[in-house]
Symmetry: C2
Subunit: 188 residues, 2 copies
Amino acid sequence: MRIGPYGFEEYIEKVTSFHGSLAPGLLAGGIMVDIAQANLPQGELYDVICESRQCLPDAVQILTPCTIGNGWLRIVDTSRYAVIFFNKYTGAGVRVHLDAARLADWPALRAWFLKETPKKDQNRDRIIDEFRRAGTSIYGIDKVTVKPEFISSSPKKTSAVGICPGCGEAYRLQHGPCCPACQGKGPY
Amino acid sequence: MRIGPYGFEEYIEKVTSFHGSLAPGLLAGGIMVDIAQANLPQGELYDVICESRQCLPDAVQILTPCTIGNGWLRIVDTSRYAVIFFNKYTGAGVRVHLDAARLADWPALRAWFLKETPKKDQNRDRIIDEFRRAGTSIYGIDKVTVKPEFISSSPKKTSAVGICPGCGEAYRLQHGPCCPACQGKGPY
């Protein structure tokens, strides 16, 4: 089994190096990216939405040109393990999700995905083996059209920049007369 | 000049490969990560917050173990070009920002950062050269304590998982009786 341009083991090595550990979600994520790309029209520019923050975005960042910092990857957290690849102008795209209903034959995968077993009691080698053997059979694929407000990942890019009268730092003036942090929305 | 474990040119190559292009913000980001790490207590476990979505998160992901998918990197968008490295238990940390007030001697940097010049008229080689020559002199550094609600990047990890009665997909039950997408918060 291959994932993206990599052999299975090579992908594991690559994604583990980036992510810091081999979380099972990275395997699901890699296979989901492949399914999505195989079902997209060739030659179009696409953006990606991850519906989960956990692991999945790292598979996307390793396997596609889309990163969180270049704006082609966004996270819209619906708490579901799904990824959407969509035309960045029209929003037309493909959504792939890990389908709990297709896990009956894969007990280790099911126990991991539905958190039926505490993490410490999960057998990671068995989970990896089941991912490899299950191949693409445990994922659902649907055509979707992304809502306009989620298309165009970075409308702020063209916004004018000024100096915040509160903190003296540069910010995009579209946020108002002072920066979001000085409006009380900062993290510290 | 070195950035992280890389020579300047080597860093440019590495981060450009990941990000897809050499945005000037990646250079600022790399230097900011180095400043933050040099000012942290050694041996502590830290998380990172980027106050901007643009470019900066990719510098963090290339230079640190913190990624968007492993939860050690979060984006709290205040529209300011700043990064916070903080103790993941106490919130005590270091904030580094690109300081507009220190750019008087660096006209190309200033024109890029404050968007005084349209992108098409910016001279990227000159911007890169000014970044290299300015070194660490154009950044502000402050001790901060991250608010408790921004510490502990992924409290959801322990939440129970169930099947959404709306879409049939797995989701974390803490979100309510159906998943966020079926509550109208989905991207398609």
